[in-house]
Subunit: 375 residues, 2 copies
C-alpha cells in the first residue's frame, strides 16, 4: 500500500484515540496473540508490537528489524528492536510510555485479548496510568474498518481470486484426468500453483478430504495419501494469500452419488443460491444465515458451522455471517466475505460450496468460481 | 496413545485439582486460543472445550463430534457437540457446571489465557462460583508435565526424527544436483516427502530463504521463487508432524563464502557444539543459552532469538532455552528440545543450525542430523 493509505489509516486511529481520550495504545502481534491490524497499519507482516500515542507518534517494536525496515517503509513509524526490551511486551510499554512522555494519570490501552493474569501484571507495574483493556478498543475499531475494503485492497483480492479461479480449473482438469489421485496430490498441486503465481502461500493449510473423510467439517489431518475424487463426495477447501490478502473457497467433487448423497448436494447448491440472492448492500448478515438454516431445517438437516465470514488480511475476519442473536452485521459496499453452506454425514460424506463475494453499491460480484464438480 | 496413558494423565489432572481444591476446570482449544493440552489428555486434535470435574467426570465439547468420536475414543470423556451451546464457551460452562452438579461456592478454573474482558463476562454470569483465572493453572501444570516425554512419545518423535533425517539427506542430494533450484522447490519437496511418510504435515510452514533473504530470522514470505543454494548463505527451517508430534530443524547451505561469511558460519557451528556439550541431565537451560551468548559476544555478535525450545505436540513448548533472568528450567531425562544458534546480517546473510536433542539419564541423543552443507 502507498504512503497515503497508511497515513489515512493512522489518522483514523488517532482520531479515535482523541475521541476516547486515550494517550497511548499498544497493539501486539506475537506467536500466541496474532493481530493483522499491525500489518494493516504499517505493512509489517508480523511479530511486533505497535505503539500509537495521541500526539501522533508511532513506534513499531519489531522482532526482526531488517524485515520491518522493508515492509513498514511506507508507514509513519519509528522502528525499534524487540530485543531492547528483553523481549517482554510489558518492558516495552514501560520504556515507550516514558520515552514518549505520556502524562501521568492518562489512559493507556492494551489489547483486548490480554489474558487476565497479564492484565494484572500491567496494572501492577504501570500504577501511574489508567490501564484500559476493553472489547471496545482501537483494535476492535480497526477490525471493523477492515471489513470494508478500499479500491487497492479490492484490486489485490480480485487478483488473488483470479489466481484461485485458474487453479480451480486446473484442479478440475487434473482430477478428471486422474493426474490428481490422492488428497495429498491435490494439496501439493495447490501449493505449487500458488508459488508459480508469486503468492505468499496458501491462506491456511489446504483441507483435502476424499470420500472416506469428507464427513468432517475440517478433516484431520488436513490431507493424507487417501484417494481423492473417487465414488462419493470429496471436499477441497483452500485459499491463496497474495500480497497479504486471502481468498477462501471450497469445491466438492461428486462421483456416482446415491440418491441420499444427491439430495445433500442439491440442498447445498440451493442454499448457496439462496444466500447469494440475498447478499446485497443493506441486508442483515444474520438474515441470510437464518434463511439458509431454515432451508436446511425443512429437510431436517443442520449445518454445523456458520454461513460465512469476511476475508482480507486474515482468512477469517469481519463481517460475520452467522445466525446468532448478537450478530448485527449489515452488508455494505466494499465488504468481501465467504458464503459457504455445507452438510456433513458420517455415512454419506460431506458437501460444502464456498465462494468469495464482494458487495458493491450497485450489486454484487462473485469473485471466485468454486463449484460442485460432477465426475 | 493407549487407554492407560490417557487414564494416567487424567488421574494426574484430578490429583492436582484435589490438591488445589478446584471443583471444575475448563480448557479451551479454539481458533484464537490454541491449546494442545486437550490433545494430550484426550487424543482429540482440536477445536474443542474440555471440562474436568473433581468427582472425575470429563466432558469434551467438540466442534466436530464425528472426529472426536474417532480421536478421543481411548480417553475417559463424554462427547457433546459445541453447537448445543450456541458455540459459546461461557454457555457451555454454565450448562456443564449445572449438569455435573458443581456445588455452589466452589472454585471453577478457566484458562489462564482468558482475555480480561471475557473474564469479566464469566465472573458476571457465574456469580455463584469462585472463578479462577491464574497463571498457576491446571493448563500450566500439564504444559510442565508435557516437557518430559514418556516412552511412547519418545518413540513417536524418534520416528519423526528418522523421517526428518531421510529428508535432510534428500535435500542435500537435490540441492547439489540442481533438482532443487528455488526456495519454493525446497519447501514443496519437503511437503511431498512428508506426505509420502504419512506425516500429518509439516510442524509449521517451511522457511526457505536463499542468499538474498537469509538475513531475516524468519523470512517473509516463508518461501518464494527466489534462488536457493546459490552463492552465499541459504537457510532451510522445517519440521515434520507425525502422529501429533513435531520435529524442528534448520539447515544452512553455504556456497563460495567470503571470509566474513565463513566466520559467521564457523561461529554458529562452534555455538552448536558448545551448547550440545552442556545439554545433559541437571544443567540449567539458562546457563547453556548464556554460554552461547557469551561466545557470540566475544566476536561482537548477538543472536536475536532464544537458543532453543521444547518440541512435542507443539513446535514450541517447554522447556525454554533462553538466557533470561526468569528462566529456571533445568534439563531432565525425557526432555526433547531444539538447540538452534543463529546469526544474521543484512550484508552477509544468515546462518542457523538447529537440531532436536533428547536428554537421557545416561547422556543425550541428538535425534536429528541437520548440518551446515557446503556446496
Amino acid at each position: 500500500m502507498e504512503i497515503n493509505t497508511y497515513a489515512q489509516r493512522f489518522q483514523k486511529a488517532w482520531d479515535w484515540m482523541a475521541q476516547e481520550g486515550i494517550s497511548l495504545v499498544m497493539m501486539e502481534d506475537t506467536e500466541t496473540r496474532r493481530d493483522q491490524n499491525i500489518r494493516w497499519l504499517t505493512g509489517h507482516p508480523g511479530d511486533a508490537l505497535l505503539f500509537l500515542s495521541s500526539d501522533k507518534n508511532a513506534v513499531l517494536v519489531a522482532w526482526d528489524v531488517n524485515l520491518a525496515k522493508i515492509y513498514a517503509r511506507n508507514s509513519p513509524v519509528i522502528i525499534v528492536p524487540y530485543n531492547d526490551f528483553d523481549r517482554k511486551p510489558l518492558n516495552a510499554l514501560v520504556v515507550v510510555s516514558r520515552t514518549l512522555g505520556i502524562p501521568i494519570g492518562s489512559k493507556i490501552e492494551i489489547p483486548s485479548v490480554t489474558p487476565y493474569p497479564v492484565f494484572l501484571d500491567y496494572v501492577g507495574e504501570l500504577t501511574d496510568y489508567d490501564i484500559l483493556c476493553r472489547n471496545n478498543s482501537l483494535g476492535a475499531e480497526i477490525r471493523k474498518m477492515r471489513s470494508v475494503k478500499n479500491d487497492d485492497e479490492i484490486a489485490v483480492i480480485r487478483k488473488a481470486a483470479g489466481f484461485t479461479n485458474e487453479i480451480i480449473d486446473l484442479l478440475e482438469k487434473n482430477v478428471r484426468s486422474g493426474k490428481i489421485k490422492t488428497e495429498a496430490d491435490a494439496a501439493l498441486f495447490i501449493q505449487q500453483e500458488a508459488r508459480k503465481r508469486n503468492c505468499e502461500g496458501t491462506s491456511f493449510e489446504t483441507l483435502a478430504a476424499g470420500p472416506g473423510r469428507s464427513f468432517a467439517i475440517h478433516a484431520f489431518p488436513s490431507s493424507t495419501g487417501s484417494p481423492f475424487g473417487g465414488q462419493g463426495l470429496s471436499i477441497l477447501d483452500f485459499g491463496l494469500k497474495y500480497n497479504g490478502y486471502c481468498t477462501d473457497v471450497t469445491l466438492t467433487f461428486a462421483r456416482d452419488l446415491n440418491p441420499r448423497q444427491e439430495k445433500l448436494v442439491s440442498l447445498v447448491e440451493k442454499a448457496a443460491k439462496l444466500a447469494l440472492s440475498m447478499a446485497y448492500n443493506g441486508t442483515r448478515a444474520r438474515d441470510i444465515a437464518a434463511a439458509v438454516d431454515a432451508l436446511f431445517a425443512k429437510s431436517k438437516k443442520q449445518m454445523p458451522h456458520g454461513l460465512g465470514h469476511g476475508v482480507g488480511l486474515q482468512e477469517h475476519e469481519y463481517p460475520v455471517l452467522r445466525n446468532s442473536s448478537d450478530n448485527d452485521w449489515v452488508l455494505e459496499p466494499g465488504m468481501i466475505f465467504t458464503i459457504e453452506p455445507g452438510l456433513y454425514d458420517p455415512q454419506l460424506g460431506g458437501c460444502r460450496l464456498e465462494n468469495d463475494v464482494l458487495v458493491t453499491s450497485s450489486g454484487q460480484e462473485i469473485l471466485t468460481k468454486a463449484r460442485i464438480i460432477r465426475l
